[in-house]
């Protein structure tokens, strides 16, 4: 049994990585001093995986939208009751979520960790779907979809993605639509389960208080061998250009919301250093200490509680986006474009670059307080082929030139403005 120890020199933490014979990659991050232990079991299977090719079969296969999320709901049920009831017996707080690129099952507990871990490993590996149980979920997920339909932040984001992406499934709603989920059958659920819940396509992360040997012994007992099948994502060709530069919708809101940003090259995989360079650029460009933020605030164009920015990227998509509430979204977009042009002309100020590095370092150290944030961070990085401490180190070593290069990806002719206005 070989555990690889991975140490973060800058933050003084470490964790262990272990490749289990079944194909599962296991990460064990000790955090002895806290009360909470957090475990998360995830598969590289999200809402964008509606078309895939298995390494043991010839053709690509297309399935209805919303299956990853539907599976997440249904996996909690088994022949002898639901997993929530089993977790209730240990007192663990259990949950699950589906994102664009992953589906994750998790619990946090302060006692009886091993029992809860056994439940987690068991129920995620024990699918049970019937016509009846699948039909029952239509109403619940239908209401979940409708809840998001009324959420202006959700709407402004998906309108933005639809205006930016012609073909890439990132523009599809995570839960699918009321119509697409009506087509979901037990057969589809089993088919997708058997394809994506192969342990070679999954990872388990545990953060908190645990005994390494006991955890691995339990994994040996619970994990079921899997054929070494690889799944490849199949995406339609995505043009470099956007669909339309502006999209608007009216909803029952009192103050308009906007999402504005730039389409970046989604085809090239990004390294930890690419991410670090972009994070620093965004801090220099739009953090609360930036001239742009001050200008937008002084002109009454944004507010502190809602304005945000993010480098949102993954398999086949990448975009830098800014969002928030504003009485004049067009003016916000114009100011952002002007500030990018100014930085291109005048260069990135050395002091702002140094400040951004310090601020991002501090934020990352702070995030390591929480078992939940570490576990979710390690899992989402690993499913994208990245590593936590390499990212934190990259924030310290990235150069001002590498940061400046990223400015070139923020092209006005590749920008989209999505706005939700009051009725």
């Amino acid at each position: 049994m070989e555990l690889q120890k991975i140490t973060g020199q800058r933050v003084g933490d470490h964790y262990f990585k272990y490749s289990h014979p079944t194909g599962l990659t296991i990460y064990l991050y000790p955090k002895e001093s806290g009360n909470t232990t957090y475990a998360i079991f995830g598969t590289k299977y999200g809402s964008i995986d509606n078309c895939f090719r298995r390494s043991d079969e010839p053709g690509p296969e297309t399935v209805p939208e919303g299956i990853a999320h539907y599976l997440e709901h249904k996996l909690f049920e088994s022949e002898d009751g639901d997993a929530f009831a089993r977790f209730a017996q240990t007192g663990a707080s259990a949950n699950a979520y589906t994102s664009f690129e992953s589906t994750c099952y998790l619990f946090s507990c302060t006692e009886r960790f091993h029992e809860s871990l056994e439940i987690l490993l068991d129920f995620v590996q024990s699918p049970y779907f019937t016509e009846e149980t699948v039909a029952k979920e239509q109403g619940i997920i239908g209401q979940e979809i409708k809840m998001y339909d009324d959420d202006p932040q959700w709407r402004v984001m998906f309108n933005y993605l639809r205006a930016m992406y012609h073909a890439h499934p990132i523009h599809l709603d995570i839960a699918g639509t009321v119509e697409s989920i009506a087509q979901i059958t037990p057969e589809y659920l089993y088919r997708c389960y058997n394809t994506f819940y192969n342990l070679h396509n999954m990872a388990l992360v545990i953060v908190g208080k645990f005994d390494k040997d006991e955890v691995l012994a339990l994994c040996d007992k619970m994990l079921k061998p899997c054929a070494p099948v690889r799944v490849d994502r199949v995406f339609p060709e995505e043009p470099e250009a956007i669909v339309e530069p502006k999209v608007e919708e009216r909803l029952a809101v009192a103050l308009p919301l906007f999402q504005f940003g730039f389409k970046d090259d989604g085809g090239t995989p990004k390294t930890e250093k690419d991410l670090a360079a972009m994070e620093i650029l965004l801090d220099v460009l739009a953090s609360e200490s930036s001239p742009l933020f001050r200008q937008l605030l002084d002109e009454g164009l944004i507010n502190e509680s809602s304005f945000s920015y993010e480098y949102f990227e993954g398999a086949g998509y990448a975009t830098v986006m800014f969002g928030g509430e504003s009485h004049d979204p067009e003016a916000v977009a114009k100011a952002i474009n002007q500030e990018i042009a100014r930085l291109e002309r005048e260069g990135i100020p050395q002091d702002a670059f140094e400040r951004a590095k310090r601020a991002l370092y501090g934020e990352n150290v702070s995030a390591l307080n929480s078992a939940a944030s570490i576990a979710n961070g390690v899992l989402s990085l690993t499913l994208k082929g990245r590593e936590l401490f390499t990212y934190i180190d990259a924030l310290a070593t990235v150069t001002i030139d590498e940061v400046a290069q990223k400015l070139g990806t923020l092209r006005e002719d590749h920008s989209v403005l999505s706005v939700i206005r009051p009725l």
């Binding site: 909470t36 017996q89 302060t110 959420d151 103050l255 002084d298 150290v365």
Partner: protein
């Protein structure tokens, strides 16, 4: 928790609660000022903490202050307005990384406390002794926009409307930031005097938490003569008469149902009612989740929450417009079942274990420790989360059933989604 929270009075109206705990990589110092909610002062007191923390004498504009915070490894200086029944809590806090991570060798507690004390005791003012015009305009605008944002979020909006109706005409019915009208009429001229009044009359709850070792003497020196020793009271109980029903319409695809129950409780019964709320609708094994969601497939969420200070329990859900009545009936049917004793030992144990898990996790987050002990100021002597867990485990089925029988429906608020949108 590895370390115990230390309580120290630092003046007649101020107490310091500190926890020096090196297992955290961060520290947090906060000053919370508790005052009764009034129509006259709520909006001004909500505006003032963000106004005073916009800039300092040493860093005299928004950008200069934020650059300083970035240099301090992304430290934060925040304001926060909370509401507990008829009380408003006006808070200012600083947080940042521990000294051992500050590679520039700064004493983080000293740097952060300096910023916090300067905004409280010597906020930036103009030549006329007023808060700068520009900052005032910006903060007032942002407070109004926060009101708009609450309208945009239909779950929040529906809960707030229900609470407003429940406590109409009472102190507890005042919004934590006052009304839109109260904010609109705010003028810069009266604010410095109101800030002084807040410092003189509030009850101060101060926290210094995480990997830092605060000097109580310093806090005594700063806060010894501040505030007043007000006793924090709870919302008085009034037996509901007729159920208040309000339905409003908006063009939404999903309707929201918010139901409010009153209950006559004593401070020491807080954990009993938390437990009853957990059995009814606080966890995935609760009656509402298992029946209204899982068996009847009526909704994605249907949950209950209990406020001890307000003596109120809320049940909220999002449903098809056509199912509003059916859902309300289903909620009342589940409550009735609980009142009639239809609750198994297993359901009770599940709720206890879920609550204990949450209580034992409090000590893992500085924000959660602060939230816990700030709320405990209303039912002193303050219980630790561990003591609360111990008390909780002692309750029996009969206790929970008896508690459920004290619930009395007061308000049903429905935000009805109109069709065809």
């Amino acid at each position: 928790m590895t370390n115990e929270l230390q309580f120290r009075p630092v003046g007649a109206g101020a107490a310091l609660k500190s926890l020096a705990d090196p297992r955290f990589k961060t520290m947090r110092v906060s000053v919370n000022m508790l005052v009764p909610l009034t129509e006259k002062t709520a909006a001004a007191y909500a505006l003032l903490p963000s106004l005073v923390s916009r800039a300092t004498q040493q860093y005299p504009d928004y950008t200069a202050l934020n650059c300083r915070l970035s240099e301090l490894y992304g430290a934060s200086l925040n304001s926060c307005v909370r509401k507990y029944g008829g009380w408003q809590s006006v808070g200012l806090s600083v947080s940042g990384i521990a000294n051992r991570y500050a590679f520039g060798g700064e004493d983080m507690l000293e740097e952060l406390s300096k910023l916090l004390f300067s905004v409280i005791f010597s906020p930036l003012k103009d030549a006329d002794g007023l808060f700068p015009q520009e900052g005032f305009e910006q903060e007032k605008r942002q407070l109004l926009e926060m009101k708009d944002a609450e309208y945009n979020d239909k779950m929040t909006y529906s809960h707030q409307r229900c609470e407003e109706i429940l406590f109409q005409g009472q102190q507890a019915g005042i919004n934590r930031c006052g009304s839109r009208q109260n904010i609109e009429v705010l003028r810069r001229e009266g604010l410095p005097a109101l800030w002084e009044e807040l410092l003189r009359t509030a009850r101060f709850e101060i926290f210094a938490l995480g990997d830092c070792d605060p000097d109580p003497g310093l806090f005594q020196e700063k806060f010894g003569s501040m505030g007043s020793a007000s006793a924090l009271d709870r919302v008085p109980y009034a037996e509901p008469q007729k159920v208040r029903r309000v339905t409003e319409e908006q063009p939404l695809s999903q309707s929201k149902l918010s139901m409010a129950f009153r209950l006559d409780t004593k401070p020491e019964e807080r954990m009993l009612f938390q437990l009853m709320s957990a059995v009814l609708g606080g966890t995935p094994s609760s009656k509402l989740f298992q029946n209204v969601r899982e068996k009847m497939s009526l909704c994605y969420y249907c949950s209950s929450s209990f406020s001890s200070v307000s003596g109120a329990l809320f049940v909220e859900s999002g449903v098809e417009t056509a199912n509003l009545e059916k859902t309300e009936e289903a909620v009342l049917a589940q409550l009735k079942a609980l009142q009639q004793g239809d609750v198994s030992e297993e359901e009770l144990t599940f709720a206890k274990l879920a609550l204990c898990n949450a209580l034992h996790s409090v000590g893992d987050s500085l924000g959660a420790v602060e939230n816990w002990y700030l709320a405990r100021a209303f039912d002193e002597p303050a219980q630790s989360p561990e003591q609360a867990a111990e008390q909780l485990m002692g309750y029996k089925r009969e206790d929970v059933v008896e508690a459920a029988n004290r619930l009395c429906l007061d308000t049903v608020y429905r935000l009805k989604g109109s069709e065809g949108c």
